[in-house]
Symmetry: C2
Subunit: 356 residues, 2 copies
């Protein structure tokens, strides 16, 4: 995959939603999808040639939301059904139908391997005529695109229920770190932070660890009376249900609880390490990592509830404090990841790159 961008010269579009017929773009529509751990969003936007000047705001013709489409979590049938449903709804809303669709770009969590990608790609292909371009990406890639407005360059860090760092260099080479799920040490994720917090409660309770404010705070939040009850609670937790405890950890840290503070600092370190691993492997700082601060900035897109939770710790600050510093241009996306997916499809279609 190369990193394509051209200099399209676009008229500014009117704000608000408009149908495919009314918008003045007779070139059809693009569907952008973001399939996260808890929900899936599909947007329908009019096609326009991708370039440095994009319509602002990006016109949204239709938008629909469905449940989780990670087949590892909900199974293949449910994942496929949800995808069909959310696509149909977005098309109905936009006043267009499948015959107007030029391209579909889908960012989906759980796409970690070419075989995963191929499977989802086949599902989408089956829903559309054969000329429709279908791009299936890890959800991190469309999140990056939501920050860079469709350009695949730099690094994205997502820390919500899960966490992942994903990046592209100028030549289109890609690298990722973390994003391997809760069992495989995604310690900077909301799930990871909550698991550490619950572990701290258990360790304080059984005498292995120091007392912590987390005990009363978390028991109260969950309506439990004893740490022993946490054991049953965690046997079948959803990832999102676990991650929902992050605000409790933050409030304890802010109230001066040392254990909570350490959990968050460790999480920030782990997130910084993930970004650093990607930056280093792609040479985004140049080949000599230690001289990084003299190189030009590159974008680091920050996405997810953990990063936007108004926490004490700052991933960029953390990174700069380490000896092998890198300087990133932090971007908080102005559009949602599904729009990033649509912009990515526009990019691919405009430069006619066949990544499908």
């Amino acid at each position: 995959m190369r990193n394509p961008h051209s200099n399209g010269n676009l008229p500014k579009l009117e704000e608000g939603r408009e149908s495919a017929e009314e918008n003045g773009y007779g070139d059809g529509v693009i569907l952008g999808l973001d399939g996260g751990a808890t929900s899936t969003v599909c947007v329908c936007v009019p096609f326009f040639p991708y370039g440095d000047r994009l319509p602002e705001p990006i016109p949204i013709l239709g938008r629909a939301v469905a449940g989780c489409t990670n087949r590892n979590s909900v199974g293949e049938t449910a994942a496929r059904d949800s995808l069909e449903q959310v696509i149909s709804e977005a098309l109905v809303q936009s006043g267009s139908d499948k015959s107007h669709v030029r391209g579909v770009c889908l960012g989906v969590s759980g796409v970690n391997h070419p075989s995963d990608q191929e499977m989802v790609q086949n599902w989408i292909r089956d829903m559309f005529p054969s000329h429709v371009k279908v791009y299936v990406q890890n959800d991190a890639i469309v999140a990056l695109a939501s920050g860079t407005m469709g350009k695949l360059h730099g690094c994205v860090l997502i820390a919500g229920t899960g966490c992942i760092a994903y990046g592209f260099d100028e030549d289109g080479r890609e690298a990722r770190a973390s994003g391997a799920g809760p069992i495989l040490g995604d310690w900077g994720s909301g799930y990871g932070i909550s698991a550490q917090a619950l572990t701290a409660v258990i360790r304080a309770h059984d005498g292995r660890g120091p007392e912590t404010m987390l005990t009363s705070t978390i028991l109260k939040a969950l309506g439990l009376s004893s740490p022993d009850e946490l054991i049953g609670w965690t046997y079948h937790p959803s990832w999102a249900r676990m991650a929902a405890l992050v605000p409790q950890v933050v409030s304890c840290a802010e109230a001066g609880d040392e254990i909570s503070d350490k959990i968050l600092v460790d999480a920030a370190d782990d997130l910084a390490l993930s970004v650093k691993a990607v930056v280093q492997r792609l040479g985004l700082c140049g080949k000599d990592f230690s001289r990084c601060r003299w190189k030009s900035f590159f974008p680091v897109v920050m996405v997810g509830g953990v990063l936007n939770a108004n926490m004490k710790w700052d991933i960029e600050k953390k990174s700069q404090a380490s000896t092998d510093t890198f300087r990133a241009q932090t971007i908080i996306p102005k559009v949602e990841p599904a729009v990033g997916a649509a912009l990515l499809a526009m990019n691919f279609l405009t430069v006619k790159i066949d990544v499908s």
Copy 2:
């Protein structure tokens, strides 16, 4: 619960299995059950008064094996059905029936709270006439009893698929540490060790951590070609399937892999910490923990595949290396936990303590 033991004076029994009628004990039979994470064992033994001299070997009239009876893992219906089945089979084998049963003692994993205990107790009560004594304990307690031959004193450390430390002082006070499941930081368990090992493979793969021999060893063991495939593999792992990777970690450590060695050392530290937490809370070393080495020995029963895996590290050695040392009499049980459960029932029935 007090800690009862009396001085029964028993004839030595012949070895081998014998029916309730033939064994010379007209006093009925006792059922001992051990319900672990992967299987449930039920033994039927003749009743004899509990005391310091026990028949050797303990006569086993019947023995049956069923699947997991942890209701948190398999659900209530399946857990209850498996219990009924394994009890019936053991009784049939022993040539006795429910009318001969004087007491049932069941050690079951997942019993962490009085409400758990009560539920399982009611299941068992419903299977027997009302005069039958029913004792439901955490599986760690019957494992302790298997090392102490029915005496509730000292500490047991179980490290198999899961891990737990559980202890009783001379007055019957009890304490536990760990045993909270994989999400809540049972890092010394087989599951915990394997999760750390898989995490190390992912971290080496994405550049966050150093290279490790674990990568090739574990991928080969699982028949996978890339660390990326581990992500799908860990989405729905059974605990036992995870824990089955421990031998790979041990072999890498023995071949000099530093990462593997650190994982095992950390696991040993965590197991030692669990024992220490229990010993300290119960004052098994006396009130001044730092003077522990001048106190008399107390039993520490070691159970589970992780501890018996012929590993480099030694929990007792580890503990002694720490400043606040305690000296334990390490016991590897000669009978299985189900027999420990039966001996415990014998103990309770002999001194007529109603712990049910």
